[in-house]
Symmetry: C2
Subunit: 412 residues, 2 copies
Amino acid sequence: MEYFNCIALKEAEQLIVNKLDGLIVGSEQVSLVEALGRIVAEDVVSKEDLPPFSRSTVDGFAVRGMDTFGAGEGVPALFDIVGEVAMGQQTDVQLKPGQAVTIPTGGMLPMGADAVVMLEHAERPDSSSLLVLKAVAPGENVVVKGEDISAGRHLLHQGQKILPQDIGALAACGCAAVLVRQKPEVVIISTGDEVVDVACTPVSGQIRDINSYALAAMLEDAGCIVKRYGIVKDQYEDLLAALSQAVNRCTMIVVSGGSSVGVRDHTVRVIKELGKSDVVFHGVAIKPGKPTIFGMIGKVPVFGLPGHPVAAMTVCSQIVKPAIQILLGQMIKDVYTIPARMLRSMASVPGRDDYIRVQLIKKANEYWAEPVLGKSGLISTMSAADGIVHIAADKGGLYSEEMVQVELITKQ
Amino acid sequence: MEYFNCIALKEAEQLIVNKLDGLIVGSEQVSLVEALGRIVAEDVVSKEDLPPFSRSTVDGFAVRGMDTFGAGEGVPALFDIVGEVAMGQQTDVQLKPGQAVTIPTGGMLPMGADAVVMLEHAERPDSSSLLVLKAVAPGENVVVKGEDISAGRHLLHQGQKILPQDIGALAACGCAAVLVRQKPEVVIISTGDEVVDVACTPVSGQIRDINSYALAAMLEDAGCIVKRYGIVKDQYEDLLAALSQAVNRCTMIVVSGGSSVGVRDHTVRVIKELGKSDVVFHGVAIKPGKPTIFGMIGKVPVFGLPGHPVAAMTVCSQIVKPAIQILLGQMIKDVYTIPARMLRSMASVPGRDDYIRVQLIKKANEYWAEPVLGKSGLISTMSAADGIVHIAADKGGLYSEEMVQVELITKQ
C-alpha cells in the first residue's frame, strides 16, 4: 500500500538540478578575515607578480652564478663584497663580475645577481672579500619575480570553497576583500503533535525535537544561516501559516517529519496550495529516507524530510546538501572517500539506493568497514558511525571482503 | 653553520606534551545550538531511556506477535480491533490475546503488545476486525523502550568533538546545554621590517603579511579565537612590548617570522626575558619548518614560526594544532588518510621528517599522489595541493608506486 510513487535517486537529483536552475544566491563582498569557508562568486585573478621582485631563499651572498663555476673546497672563488642588502629595503647595487653582496633570507636580489651562495659555503677572510667554496647555478637559492604567482594567474575560481591556504594566496596578492556567495537562509520547521522541545520532559507518547537541532547543525556546516521556526502542530492550517510566513524570508525551507504516510501529509497539501501545485516528487527509492518530498513555492525550494532522525540526516546529507551547493553555485569537488573492505556482507534491494552506516577499523594499513548494527531508525547508530557506504540502486548488496568507498561523516 | 640545534619532531612533540601538562583551558556551558564543533569538557550520560516507551516503526496494527504465528495469505489470523493509538498520546489499552489496535509510525505500543503488523500485511473486513496476512515475530517493527539509548549510557566522552549527529543524540536525551571547553585565545604577531599589511602595495623589498591571515584561518578552524596583533618591527623592544601585552590576555602566542637565523632572533630573547629562560627548543628536524621555536612565558606557550608561508602553515598544522588539541583536552582520533600510490619517487634526508604536498589523482578506483612541483617556499604549491604526505625521519625517501597515506588539507 504505497501512497506515493517512489522515483530513483538519480531522477530525484536531476529534478532538483532542473528546478534550481538559475536560482543561485546573490553575492557580497567580505574581508579576508571573514572569507574562510565561503564560496567564491567570481574568479579572482592576481594583478601582481609574486614575489614582486627576485628574492633570496637563504642567508648568504648574492652573486652571478657563472662567477662561481669551478669553485670548490680546494679551489675557492674570490669575490669582492660591495654592499649589503637590508631586509625590506630596495637595493640600487648593480652587481658586476666578481662582486657579491650579503643578503638575508627574503632579501631583494640586486641587479646583475642571479644566485645566492649560502653562508655555510663561503668564508670571509676580511670584511670586503669572500671565498666561495661551492659553485651555485644561476637561479639557485633564488625565487624569481613572478615565479610563485604571475600577474594574470587565477588565484580562485568561481564556485570554489575558500580554504586557509587560499586565504594565504589572497593575502599574498593583496586581495583584502573577496566577492563570495551570500549564505543561503534556511528555515527549519519541525512538525508533529508528538514532538516537544528539547528542554521539555516528554510525557508518554511524546518525543523530543531531535531533527531541527541535528539538521540545523548539518546545514550550518554546509554554509547556511539556519532559522529554527520551532514545532508546528499536525494541522494543515498551522503548517500553511508557518510556510506562508517563512517563504518570504528565506532561500529554502526544510520541513522535518510530516512526510510519512501515517503522519498527515500536510506538507504536500501546503506546497500545492502555496506553490500552485508544484510538488516535484514525493518518495525517493533510498533507504533510509523514502518518504522525502521536494517541491517549489515560487522560487523557494521546500524539502519534506522523514521524521526518523537517521533518515532525516541521511536525506539532508545526500539530497538537501547538494541542493544547497547548487544554490551556492558551488563547484562540486570529488568527495574523497576511504577505500575499505566490508567486514561482513550486506543485502540490499535492487532498484533502491541504500546508505549504510559503518565503523572503520584499521588493520595492517588497510581499513575494514563494519556495518553499525541496530535498527535503522536508532539515533545511536548514527553517532556510532564513522562513515557511510552507498550501495547503488543497481546492486543487490555487498559481499564480505568486497572493497567499498566510505564517505566520512566525522569531521576531523 | 647551524645557529640552533635541531631536535627530532618526535622529541619536539614530547617536549610540548610535557610543558602543556595541566594547562587545559577552562570549561563553559553552551546551549545545544552553539555546541557544534566544540570539545566536550565532561562525560555526558543519558538520564533517560530512548525511546522512553516502546514505539512502532511502521503504520499498522499493534498485536501480540505470538497471536500471528502461522498466519499467511491463505490462512489469515483474525483479530478484534479494540482501539486506536493516536500520535503523541499515551494509551491505557491493555491488549489481550486476539486483540489489536491501530498504531501510527512512532506511536506508543499499548501494554501487552510486542509487535506491529504493517498496513500492507493486513485487511480490515469491517471497522472492528482485522485479518493478518503475515506473521510477525515479537519485537518486529517495534523499537523497545531504551533500545536506542538506555539510561546511564555515555552519549559523549570528555575530549570528543561535537558533530551534527551528536547534537541529535543530545537533543534526543533532553540535553539542552552541554559543558564544553572554552575556546583558546591565540594571539598572532607578524614580525619583520619587510612585512606590510595586505591592503598595502609593497614597495620593492617589502612583502605582504600573508602568514597572520593564513594562520588565523587555520587556527579558527581548529577551534580558537584568534586575535591578530598586526605587524611588529624587527626590534627587540617592539617585540618585547607586544608579547608583554599579549601574554596576559591569551592562551597561546604565535609569532610568525623572526625565527630564521638571518632575521634577528628576537623571539628567543623575548621568551628568555619574559619567560625566565624558558626556551624549550629552537629548531626541529622537519622540512619545511626547521627554524621553529617553542617556549613558555609563564603558563602561556609561545611558538615562533618560520617566515615562509608554506613552512609556517606546515608547522601550524603539524605542531601548533596538536598543541591546541592538548590545551582543549581533545581526544585525538586517528586522522583518516587516503591510501595512494606515489606517481614519482621522492628523495628525503634520513633523520628529518619531510612533509611533501601532493595532488591526488583517481585512476581506476585507486588514488595516485603526485608531488606538487615548485620550490618549497612558494605559496602556490600550498593552494595547489590536495594533501600532505609525511616521510618519516627513519626513511630515505619514497619510491615511485610506493603506497603512502595522504592527509587531506582540503576540507570537503
